[in-house]
Amino acid sequence: MVEATRSIIETRQLTKTFRDFWLREKVTAVSELDLDVRAREVFGLLGPNGSGKSTTLKMILGLLFPTRGQIAVFGKRPTDVATKARIGFLPEESYLYPFLDAYETLDFYGRLFHQPRPERRRRIEMLLEMVGLKAVGYRRVGEYSKGMQRRIGLAQALINDPDLLILDEPTSGMDPIGTRQIKDIILTLGARGKTVLLSSHLLADVEDVCDRVCILYGGKTRRTGPVDELLARQDRTQITTDRLDEATLDRLREAIRAAGRRVLDVDHPRDRLEDLFLRIVREAQQQKVATGGALADGKVAEFLQSGAEAGEALIEKLVKQAEPVEQPPAEQEPPPPPQPAREVLESLTAEKPAVPPAPEPGRPAAPSKPSADERVDRDVIGDLLGGERPRKDEGDA
């Protein structure tokens, strides 16, 4: 057994080989994987189909047993029941009981966490409100669309307010609202000091929320590190500001040239399609346009937010009441990720005070992380994924 460390998930030389009917080794899905998911970080497992992401997650959850190597989750075996009380899991598809309605589904999973009935009911109400299915909560899950089932899947993963949230392709089958909501939840939980491990091949999703990523190919690690470090192009600088007149642009060009640098491109930034879509749907909801689908208001359930109601202490108390598990000593806050150098930018904008962009209404403020367009070099990931180079519109979808 791996010794307990600050890592929430730790794998050493983790290998999984699938065999055929005659027990002959046929496919090595994961090979000698060393993984460390630290406390309070959002960690992404990236890789193309068949790279071993889901197999790794299933071994972490005890659904598969390693052929070789070791796994520790919260310092214990993956099959340890007390450990599982602290985990929330959303599989790649929502494997739900079709004959139960949404309330019964969440009630069943809540019971498995031994949650007292009043607390269970409170959480179910909040989660259904959060995923926008309260109005159809008494319909059987089997009648739901795939996206609606994913939302119920997400709700069940959060019913225990998990310390570790494991998401396998979390945005698969989700509409942009659901996708945005999952990202918001991840960011909220991350801000609360929870640990999130997600696997995806949708690079924009990972990029938006992850602190660190591990890129897998053929069951082996190709690259691991903080997203910012992996994506930052140290030889380029990008400036985003309010619209500038030609005179100002000329002064800027001149200043750049004076610094001995070239101006490669000056253009107007485009709005993201995701933002446009969300704005249109929000308008429709405000006009109360009829729909039989999900009606998410975009708000994260109170019990999942820091400081909601009677505060974090109350939530922690309730979680402890519901989960007969000894909590480990509080994890230390990891050091903040390194920020890119800003000297050049500051010197260039010294004449005009920088105006920070106003946060979008109705969305929780994300941690102070540069937006995707400021720091993305998609070619890095594309190269690592074997030449699969995502287009701009794909990444933003």
Binding site: F18, K26, L63, V81, F89, Y95, E104, V325
Partner: protein
């Protein structure tokens, strides 16, 4: 425990919302509901009720048995094949809790189904019970169907058989005995001296049984009787004494109708003994609050206080406990008119009180003789004496064989209702076992394979006794000299024998756990019998089945991919 209950609740909901449950309930309602109308038995009302009870228990067992297997196999198999198990297994629950919860959920659901089916069957039996019929049939219904009776067999015949054989051998003398053995030596298969002697003993035994169980016809008084001694007869309840108002006195027959407390009617049985003002009589008919009493002889109406009875006056009725003697007379020749005449004396060996009755019974059919419980001694002993009588009219008769195994004393120890409940529980116990088997196979096989394997359990369990007999190995299976073909055949037989032994060890004997026969004959299904079946079928076998299922499931990779 809470995790097990959470899974059990979910399983119950799952089972109740499956189409197979709805279809099986509809089938049960149609099949059971129609039984009273298409299953007529021997044409009598008691026959219809017996057929209804018998068929309904078989239908409930078989139909719900199949439903049990479908549900128990699928609840685990489906979770794995649809990957729903990923979500459950990722929650804080041990796998053994999941398996146990699944079993409990299926069993609770089946308990409801069995209860519903039994209530339906009971209601139909009561509906039939309320139909009109003749007094004899009514007596059969009330005393032999809607009752829970204990059975006592007579003392073993074996000592008398051994004595008979000894006497025969002694009378033969050593020389004739040796000759007889030699005669059997030629006919015996093995050819050994021991086998020939065994065959002679077998023949002598056959003759002893024939001689000791048969009796020639005789005219009264006197003749050779057959005597049985019974021990351990515990007549339930003390006699009940109550006041009864005379409603009417029959002008010609020794018959009086009394009005009694309805609760007293519940203590009475058709044909049962009763004393009116100290005079022996029989219950002829029962109403809701009336009882018709018939005196044994016409002049009884003029004896003692009975003579003074008039409509409107009160009399003292004493209802005695009753015992029944069942037998099956088999004529050894032609019975005149298909009827056998007999004289019975039932004796209390301690007080020497004797109960007499002359009877005429149809041949080869089981018959019942009801006698007052006072013929049973305080320590539960009773002696029954039988005379085979010639026809009073013609003086003709034939020898009669009364097989020991057909003789029994029956006595009421409880009501039909609780017996029926225990019968239902017995069916449920079988379902619990089948659910355990279904969960076990479903824990490591695909649905189709697991269902087929589990389905084999039902007929194998029902045919256990038949299989054991079919592959019984001769005691000298490997003895003597024989060819290669014979050796192969015998080896095959021995292997089959071991297979059957394995089946017997693994499966409970469903045929002995079927309550139909007991309910049809009004025989007691005791709590101890139920407890023994529970312990054996559920306590041991289900624990083993679920234990293995938990072990297998614990070691199983739930997200395993076959490549």
């Amino acid at each position: 425990m809470r995790s097990i209950w959470a899974v059990a609740r979910q399983t119950f909901t799952e089972c109740s919302r499956r189409k197979v449950a709805a279809v099986s309930i509809a089938l049960l309602v149609v099949l059971l509901g129609g039984l009273p109308f298409y299953a007529v038995g021997d044409g009598t009302l008691s026959g219809r009720i017996r057929t209804q009870l018998d068929y309904s228990t078989i239908m409930i067992t078989v139909l719900l048995g199949v439903v049990t297997l479908i549900l128990s196999v699928s609840v685990v198999c489906d979770d794995v094949s649809t990957k729903r198990i990923f979500l459950v297994a990722a929650k804080p629950i041990h796998r053994w809790q999941y398996i146990l919860g699944r079993w409990v959920g299926v069993v609770v659901f089946l308990a409801l189904l069995v209860a519903a089916a039994c209530i339906l069957s009971y209601g139909l039996a009561q509906y039939l019970r309320g139909q009109q019929t003749n007094p004899d049939d009514r007596r059969t219904i009330e005393t032999e169907v809607f009752a829970a009776r204990a059975r006592v067999s007579p003392e073993s015949l074996e000592p008398r058989v051994q004595q008979y054989i000894r006497q025969r051998i002694e009378s033969m003398g050593p020389q004739r005995y040796e000759e007889a053995v030699k005669a059997f030596l030629g006919s015996s298969e093995g050819g050994s001296l021991a086998a020939a002697e065994q065959a002679l003993q077998k023949e002598l035994r056959k003759q002893a049984l024939q001689a000791l169980q048969s009796v020639p016809p005789s005219a009264p008084p006197g003749g050779r009787p057959l005597v049985w001694r019974f021990q351990g007869v515990n007549v339930a309840g003390a006699e009940v004494r109550a006041a009864a108002e005379v409603v009417a006195i029959h002008p010609n027959d020794p018959l009086i109708r009394f009005r009694v407390d309805p609760l007293l009617v519940g203590q009475m049985s058709f044909g049962g003994p009763v004393r009116v003002e100290g005079v022996d009589a029989r219950i002829y008919d029962l109403g809701r609050d009336t009882v018709d009493v018939m005196f044994l002889r016409p002049d009884d109406m003029k004896r003692g206080a009975v003579a003074g009875l008039k409509p409107g006056r009160d009399a003292t009725l004493v209802v005695e406990p009753m015992i029944q003697i069942t037998y099956k007379p088999v004529p050894q020749g032609d019975a005149p008119g298909g009827v056998l005449f007999s004289e019975w004396q039932v004796i209390n060996p301690k007080t020497n009180e004797v109960y007499y009755e002359n009877r005429n019974d149809p041949v080869r059919l089981p018959a019942t003789l009801s006698v007052p419980g006072r013929v049973v001694s305080e320590d539960g002993e009773v002696v029954v004496v039988y005379y085979n009588r010639v026809s009073p009219g013609t003086g003709a008769g034939t020898s009669v064989k009364m097989a020991w195994e057909d003789m029994a004393v029956l006595y009421r120890v409880g009501g039909f209702e609780w017996n029926f409940v225990r019968g239902g529980l017995m069916i449920l116990i079988q379902m619990m076992f089948l659910a355990g088997v279904g969960i076990l196979t479903g824990s490591f096989l695909s649905f189709s394979v697991a269902f087929v394997v589990s389905l084999l359990v039902l007929p194998l369990g029902l045919m256990r006794g038949f299989l054991t007999d079919a592959v019984r190995v001769p005691t000298d299976a490997f003895g003597g000299v024989e060819g290669a073909g014979e050796t192969l055949e015998r080896v095959g037989l021995v292997l089959a024998n071991y297979m059957v032994r394995l089946v017997n060890a693994v499966l409970p004997d469903f045929s002995s756990a079927m309550p139909g026969d007991s309910l049809v004959d009004g025989m007691l299904i005791s709590w101890s019998q139920l407890g023994a079946v529970s312990l054996y079928a559920v306590g041991v076998r289900v624990t083993i089945a679920l234990g293995v299922a938990c072990l297998v499931f614990r070691k199983r990779e739930l997200a395993r991919v076959q490549v």
